[in-house]
Symmetry: C2
Subunit: 493 residues, 2 copies
């Protein structure tokens, strides 16, 4: 067997263990009784360690050396590139540091839950300082091994190929345009009649029936996936066994339904990855920004369009009973309402990127030490005023609102907005390529859109670097102006 | 670290992987969409291989050598004994043979499903011949390594410490007594009025509510376990995350309810294993016969007693509505009905051991070759006539009814009846030790019985060999006469 073939076997085992881990994660969030948490943590940690051992083993390094001398086709070469990427990243950080970081995160995350409830940043500050210290060390180690700056090494973890300089060039136009855009959207909204709010309650069973109905329309394969309930919605499982979750609020049908559409977008990406490359690095999704683009393409681009809402209106009446709010134009106004709020996860499409910019302003400074932790709450309020136009009343609505930093996830926030930007560009290209897409959405038919997504994104998995993937699919480099155009058209038009 | 401590770490990892595997098995039977089966098979196989690699690694052998020179306390020494047992058993069979056996079983099991449906033994005979050939080889290899006859090596897999000579001495009195006992039970039954059969349907929701209610009475810890639905009821998961399943039949409440009581008995055993020895070999249940004794102690000894049925009667009325059949004495007659049937899993308490004897008559002869496979259907009918008193109309009701042989499980059947025998002896000892047990059952209070089971069986895990465990708990060696006494008292009295 060639070195490359031996690597394929080895990475198949790693991928299989990752799949097992993903199923156990799903179970933990949906099914597991509380008493199982200790045993489950042990199982997840063991599966993690085994993957890490296989990935960093000296034999893996030797085989990677040898395989580079072997003749490989296009996909195999890309697979080898991704294997090398994983191996280098995993070997870059010494195991003691990995463990110290994991421990610091676990401790900090627990304190954060209380701190957020109590609006008490001081209570979690020392633990966060410890997390930042460990993230800094591991980013430095990873950067040294990969020839990247520490912050680039963090971005690389979430979106391979992403660099801070590129984020800056993509975000700069947003930073300039957004304040005016938000202002304009609010003015345009004020000039229109206030949309009618549908009167609940919306029984969970009816919401669930509607959600499943829409998932089917979207092409979610129920013979290789499930919908369940969890505290925090997510899309998990494996490409052949997709597990998406949501939570139900009988006072507000839209949070669950839009959440399901979002997670279905993620799941469809996984389902569409090439069968021939299952369990191999090149067969995996191309990073978090691309993943988010697939969920937002479904949720934001397709499902908040006038076309789709015209299809949705009678379905809502059918599931929840008659309500004067179930008029397509009224639904569109509801789905595109803009508000300067404090909370990112509740934000609308226009203010959301402002929330991300806020975090992106502070994150590198926290890591470099330019922004002392004691100044974080103040800096947050300042940026919130400048970017979002809403100053949180307490840190629970401010710098304590997101789990990410407290769990060590630095470098992750930019992918949300890069995903939104990518989604806008992909949707435009899809419609340019197949003008029937919007008409089909009006009939609740996602087939043409999904066919395009599958062909241009899903089937390519990690064959290309992420910006190559976007350029190949859309015919041009990622362009923030397309995203801004989309927002202007929808919110100022 | 001492060699023993290093072994503890190694076996903790093995135990953790086994736990992960168990959860994924549960998911496969209860939650998994059909499309996930390929990926799941891969996950389960990988977890299996990893455990096998850890168990058979040369370092494991070296550490086991060294640890035998180290000072160990009572429990540690027993743990080392069980580690050695697993290691020897796993290293005894060459990996190629393990794989050949697995493949033969997988193929045979698939053919068996069709063959059973079609009453067509010939269709599966060549595949079964292949399974038997591979079982024979692996039993010979295991026997050679362990100093056991091949059949003893098979028994050892399911009930460590069990030998054919001992099975023979325990089964001989049954073989003598059972025909008369069955005859007598049928005669006694014929002399009594026919019991009233309760009129369904019994809605699934009501059955489920009753099942959960009874599980709570039994002491099933719902904060560390769940009840779900699967095609074949089982008890799985891990001691801190117990997963039991049942299936619901709205025409017959008793199959689901008695099934749940049975599986709860298994689960309580797991839950009661000593916390200090989690994930270590000595902390595991003491074999299949002992496991079955815990389920039958609950289902057969406790829950088919007059005392418990007096408690159950009003509960049935409460959950399913009034029915003249809900009288304690009538319920007792229903719960102790005897019938010469064809199918083991549907058999009553008296004919069940006859079904097991039948299989135990044939199994060693099949393996030795004394019974040619072509003669199996005829031999089955002959034994069924002699032992059960009912000749199956076709092989689907005869030698094709059980999955075990077709899946390579030779040496397993005896543990059912040894479990029943053990349960009878344990229950008698429990009541001798605490006379309050039957009165408590009449109040639906399992606390005194469970306390005894926990102290005498669960807490001891695999500290003792299985017959030592029975003798320690009951003050005498396992005695088939106690089991026969129980049957005579209940069915002839």
């Amino acid at each position: 067997m060639s070195a490359y073939q031996l690597l394929q076997q080895r990475f198949k085992r790693i991928g299989t263990l990752a799949g097992a881990q993903s199923m156990l994660h799903w179970d933990m969030a949906t099914m597991m009784p509380s008493g199982g948490s200790g045993a489950r943590a042990e199982q997840l940690a063991t599966l993690e360690v085994l993957q890490h051992e296989l990935l960093t083993a000296p034999e893996t390094g030797d085989l990677l050396e040898q395989a580079q001398q072997e003749p490989l086709d296009h996909w195999q070469a890309a697979n080898l590139r991704e294997m090398l990427r994983s191996h280098r990243s995993a070997t870059a950080v010494p195991p003691e540091l990995v463990e110290a970081l994991t421990k610091a995160c676990r401790r900090c995350e627990m304190l954060w839950r209380e701190a957020r409830k109590n609006d008490d940043f001081a209570a979690v500050r020392p633990a966060l300082a410890e997390v930042i210290a460990r993230v800094r060390e591991s980013a430095a180690a990873r950067g040294a091994a990969l020839g990247l700056t520490p912050y680039d090494a963090l971005l690389e973890q979430y979106q391979p190929g992403l660099r801070a300089a590129r984020v800056e060039s993509l975000f700069a136009p947003l930073r300039t345009a957004l304040p005016e855009l938000i202002e304009g959207a609010l003015a345009a909204q004020a000039a229109r009649p206030t949309p009618l709010v549908p009167q609940g309650p919306f029984p969970q069973a009816a919401q669930e029936a509607l959600a499943r109905n829409l998932m089917e329309r979207l092409g979610f394969p129920f013979d290789q996936g499930r919908l369940d309930t969890s505290l925090h919605p997510f899309s998990g499982g494996t490409p052949d066994d997709l597990r998406i979750t949501t939570r139900w609020d009988e006072a507000d049908y839209s949070s669950a339904i839009m959440g399901v559409l979002h997670e279905t977008g993620h799941a469809l990406y996984e389902a569409g990855l090439p069968r021939d490359w299952r369990l191999q690095p090149v067969g995996e999704a191309r990073g978090m920004a691309v993943h988010e683009s697939q969920s937002l393409l479904v949720e934001m681009q397709a499902c908040r369009s006038r076309a789709f809402l015209a299809y949705l209106a009678p379905l809502l009446a059918q599931h929840f009973g008659a309500d004067p709010a179930w008029k397509p134009e009224n639904l569109y106004r509801l789905a595109t309402r803009v508000e300067r709020g404090f909370i990112r996860v509740d934000a609308d499409e226009v203010t959301y990127p402002a929330h991300v910019l806020l975090r992106y302003e502070l994150e590198p400074a926290l890591l470099s030490g330019d922004l002392p932790l004691a100044d974080l709450p103040g800096a947050w309020r300042e940026q919130a005023r400048a970017l979002v136009g809403a100053v949180p009343p307490g840190d629970g609505f401010g710098c304590l609102q997101d789990i990410h930093w407290y769990d060590g996830a630095f470098g992750y926030f930019p992918t949300y907005t890069l995903g939104a930007m990518t989604a806008a560009q992909l949707y435009r290209a899809a419609v340019e390529s197949d003008a029937a897409i919007p008409d089909a959405l009006e009939q609740g038919d996602f087939t043409p859109l999904l066919a395009w997504m599958r062909r241009e994104i899903h089937a390519r998995a990690s064959l290309l670097e992420w910006e190559e993937l976007v350029e190949t699919a859309t015919g041009r480099p990622l362009d923030p102006e397309i995203y801004l155009d989309h927002l202007r058209q929808r919110y100022l038009g």
